[in-house]
Symmetry: C2
Subunit: 235 residues, 2 copies
Amino acid sequence: MVGTSHPGNIGSAARAMKTMGLTQLVLVSPQKFPHQQAIEMASGAIDVLEEAVIVNSLKEALVNVHLAIGSSARPRGIQLPMLEMDKFAPHVASQRQDASIAIVFGRERTGLTNEELSCCDFHTMVPTNPEYGSLNLSQAVQLFCYELRKAYLQQNPDKLPKEKQLNLATVDELERMFVHLEETLLLTDFLVTDQPNKVMAKLRRLFKRAQLEDTDVNLLRGIFTSVHEMSKQGK
Amino acid sequence: MVGTSHPGNIGSAARAMKTMGLTQLVLVSPQKFPHQQAIEMASGAIDVLEEAVIVNSLKEALVNVHLAIGSSARPRGIQLPMLEMDKFAPHVASQRQDASIAIVFGRERTGLTNEELSCCDFHTMVPTNPEYGSLNLSQAVQLFCYELRKAYLQQNPDKLPKEKQLNLATVDELERMFVHLEETLLLTDFLVTDQPNKVMAKLRRLFKRAQLEDTDVNLLRGIFTSVHEMSKQGK
C-alpha cells in the first residue's frame, strides 16, 4: 500500500487480507502509522499489522519481487500491459511456488503515480460502474485478495469449505412415494380416477425440483399415511 | 441489511453497491440510521443512502421478492440449500428480467438468525480463511456486489471497460527488425559471424514474448540505426 492517508484503511486492508489467507503487508510511506484507527479496523488481524514492513519507496518495496501487479482505478495513457480482474489471480497462481509476488495499491484519492505504475509488470482494474467507480481502498484490497483466494482454492480444492451433502432419495423411493401420493389424493377425492395424469405430472415435477432427501420422503409418506389413517377411522 | 449496529457499515455498503452498479438498499431495523457516519462512509453514494427503505422485519423486506439469497458467515446446521460464491451471481443473472432479487446480510457479530435465514431461498458463504473468517460486513457486501457485476458484464460484454488494444507489429515487420538487429550485433562484434543462431534465437524469443507494437519496432530500429551511424562516423 503506497502513501495511504487514512490509517483506518490500513487496518481494514489487514483484516481483508487475513480473511483471504494473506499476511504479508508492506507499507510505503504511510501518512499515519502505527495508529489507533488502524488497530481498531484490523479487528482480529492485528498480527498482520504488527508484522507489516514499512519502507520509503515502491522501488524499495519491490526489490525482491518477481511479479508486481498494480491496482489502477481507471484506464490511463500508460503502456503497461493490462490483466483483467478475473485473470490476474490465475496468472499469479501459475507462477513458480517460490516466486515473490506483490499486488500494489495506490493512494486513496490519486492512486499510483505513472512512475510507480511503471515499476509494475501489469496493471489490473476492477470493472466498476462507469458512473461511479470510486471504490474504497480497503474494498479494492478485499476484492484482489478474494480473487487470489479463489485461485488458491481452485488449485487446492481440498481446502474448500465442506458443505453438508444432500442424501438424495433414490428414484425408486420417489416412485413409491408418488404411488402413495396418488392413492392418497384419490382417497380424498382430490383426484378423479379417470384422468389423474395431468395433476400427478405437475406434482412429480414439483417434488423432483425439490431434490428430496430420503428423510423428506419419509416425512411426506408419514403425512400421506396419516390421511389414510384418518379415513379408516371414519373421521 | 438486517439489524446493522454500525452506521459506518451502512455507508460503506452503499458505496460498495454503487461502485458495482447497484442502488436498492433496504435496511431492516438499523440500530442507528440516519447517521453522520453513514454519510461520511458513503462518499459519493449518498443517493443510495437517501433512497434506502427502512422496515421492521426481514419478512416485510422480502414481501415482493422472488428470490432471496442469504449471506452466511459459516456453515450451520440448517437445511437451506447452499449456492457457492461463484454460482449465486450467475443464478441471479439467469432469472427473469422482472424478478425482484434480494441479497440478505445479517448483523455484524451474529449474522442472520436461523429464522431469518429460513426466509431465504438459498444461502451463500464467502470462502474465507478457516483460521480467520471475520469479514467486515461492508466488505462482504462489496464481494457479493462484485460477483453480481461480473455476472452482469458477462451478459453485457459491451459494458466491459474498454482497454487500449495493442497495435501488434506484423511478422514481416518483426522479421525485418531481427535482420536489422543481427546486422547491428555483427557490426558491434557482439556476434561472431560463424554461429549467431543461438544468440539470435534467444533474442527472438525475448522480443516475441514482449508482444511488440509497430511503434516499438520503429523505436528499436531507430536505436540499431544509430549504432550503424556511429560506426560510419568512426566514433
